[in-house]
Amino acid sequence: MERIDSVKKLDESIKTCTEQFEAKIKGTNGKRAVVVCGGTGCIANSSEDIQKALEEEIKAHGLENKVTVNHVGCFGFCSQGPFVKIFPEDTLYRAVKVSDVKQIVEDDLIGGNVCENLLYVDPVTHEKVVRQDDINFYKKQVRVALHGCSLINPDLLEESLGYDGFKALKKVLTEMTPQQVIDEILASGLRGRGGAGFPTGRKWQFAANVQADQKYIVCNGDEGDPGAFMDRSILEGNPFEVIEGMMIAGYAFGASKGYFYVRAEYPVAVERLQRAIEDMEQVGLLGDHILGTDFSFHAYLRLGAGAFVCGEETALLNSIEGKRGMPRPRPPFPAIKGLWGKPTCVNNVETLATVPYIIRVGAAEYAKMGTEKSKGTKVFALGGKINNVGLVEVPMGTTLRTLIFDIGGGIPGGKKFKAIQTGGPSGGCLTEKDLDTPIDYDSLVAKGSMMGSGGAIVMDEDNCMVDVAHFYMDFICNESCGKCSHCRIGTKRLFEMLTKVTNGTATTKTLDDMKYLATVIKNGALCALGQTAANPILSTMANFPEEYEAHVVDKKCPAHVCKKLMRYVIDPNLCKKCSLCARNCPVNCIHGVVGKEPYVIDQSKCIKCGSCLAGCRFHAIIKE
């Protein structure tokens, strides 16, 4: 690409790229465009092989001058992936396999017929849906932070420029003073999307007010909440948008250097971000005197190394500085004394991805979406026991019911909804009675949970809430950095007490002790990881006291999950004596005689892995 070193050249590039991109989508260039989902979820489901097969099949039919193929970012509807979409008809094929490629090429691309068997089928009406926008999952969504994801090729700067990219950067550099940018973000009501919800404009203002020879903007892409993948998908789907947001932040408070800190577990995001930075450097969109103005900006990428606590901003800064990722006491806040002692703003990926949109449409327009104190949209990663696992972006104020049942499609297998955990290991669970709560920062806190970064894990009647709390406590114990004793020792003791509950050795006093210790940790811990560590326990205790009681008093796990409190048994009347369970058993603890004597599980040796139950075709094995 030619260098873009003046406003005029940017205007020209935007014009050309937009025409090209529109021609591609509308087919006015005389070609059809096939896009394949290149998000991590679909890649794990062989989408790269599908793309390769498409390219080969198209070539084999001599169509390479009439059809283009490229990958795009996450479509969001991960449980239906991998996706293949065809423009200009806007036909969406889901759950595509390599073996379907021949049919797509021959029937659709050559024959002009839609491949009916690859269309999404609405589970209620059983109707086949051709276009993405007509699928219920997408109808209530608004794409702001996910702008361009699943549409543009994330490896091509041209496609970003062709789809609104860098219009906001041009606007701030040519029409706005830094203070006007901060005022605009303040007016938009944008709050940090990493979880805490601090107003982004105020953060920038703090850093702007400090005089320093060097300031930094840091993008927090250390998305550690297990089960959350919003930031990853944004970085994979449209890295340019996040870089643009970072540059606008840099302009606003005077930072000329920006660091991306991304989890090493996200190789695809890292690769695309790195390429985006290099491509922008090459054309001059990153570097000195951007667009011929006085604004200079350099972006760098740093990788995490598997430490959850590095999502905490001061721990993250230590990690960039090559140290153990331990939090620093605040104050001084990073905006005053951050990276290498210089004023630094740490903003989440989704926050920065939203910034260009706000600048483009204006704060007033943006603030029309959302609730009184939480403006705009929020991306959630829906996971767990829900039909439509995936990534959704909804306006703030959408209810949990809409999120789980309209968009998420409800609970699979006709099971009953039990709880939704938001905010990951720092959050809490919300139940049936909270389903009509409009989602915003404050309402979720009022209900005993929190927004968090956007992880939303749904649980059904088969999940034991004590076990879920135990899972989070185990996680927090492992991830506690050990700096402050409240968190280091307190979470360990809490975990031990909770283990007693799950193995039936706890008393009611244990529960009281847990509540007391939870408060001590909350008040004494240095950083948010420790301060919120007990939330999953407190929240499940408050919402499901009867489950704790069953474990402690009756020594029973109602959901049959806690291993010490449940066992597998074989109903001799249902057992067909086929020996399959005995053959499946990894520890050889099931005995019987084929065709003659019903099989019996030796409880003293059983490791409760469930292999027998999973394999039995006669439903003869039960949990009790």
């Binding site: 991960c78 089960g227 740093r302």
Partner: protein, 162 residues
């Protein structure tokens, strides 16, 4: 154990590569981990000599982050996802079964150096839960009765010398 000369050269080259970066330690360690699979004390000493950072500090950083390992891992790293989305879909049963069948706990390596079991936090394949990855290849919707087959598949590959 003395470090082979080519490893010394390789580690020093990595240190040189990042010499101009501010605070390069994390980048150096990530590169060493990626290239050699682990960062023993002897290698940390080389890094210390090259960068001037005390070994104690390097050791502190190596042991802090779960990506860095002091010991070599098995040829095949069985990474069972224990992220929340997989956990609520019973991934614990998968890792338990690997442990039972291989006779090692998560984090350990089999005596033949073939397998390491790791409990990993969210590999991002939440729609494919419970998922696992073996040296980067993702196995979707794993069930406990597939565990034996997966182990056999890799043992067979090994026996055939692939």
């Amino acid at each position: 154990m003395p470090i082979r000369h080519e490893v010394v050269v390789g580690v020093e080259a990595i240190c040189d590569q990042y010499a101009n970066e501010p605070s390069p330690l994390m980048m150096i360690l990530s590169a060493i981990q990626k290239k050699y699979g682990y960062i023993p004390l002897e290698v940390q000493e080389i890094v210390s000599k090259k960068t001037g950072i005390p070994v104690a500090e390097i050791y502190g950083v190596v042991t802090f982050y779960s990506f860095f390992s002091l010991k070599p891992k098995g040829k095949y790293v069985l990474g069972v996802c224990l992220g929340t989305a997989c956990y609520v879909k019973n991934s614990q049963a998968i890792i338990d079964k690997f442990s039972a069948m291989l006779g090692i706990a998560p984090g350990e390596t089999t005596d033949d150096g073939l397998f390491t079991i790791e409990a990993v936090r969210c590999i991002g394949a939440c729609a494919l839960a419970p998922a696992m990855s073996i040296n980067g290849k993702v196995y979707p919707k794993v069930t406990p009765d597939q565990v034996g087959k997966i182990i056999d598949e890799y043992r067979k590959m090994e026996a055939e010398g692939k």
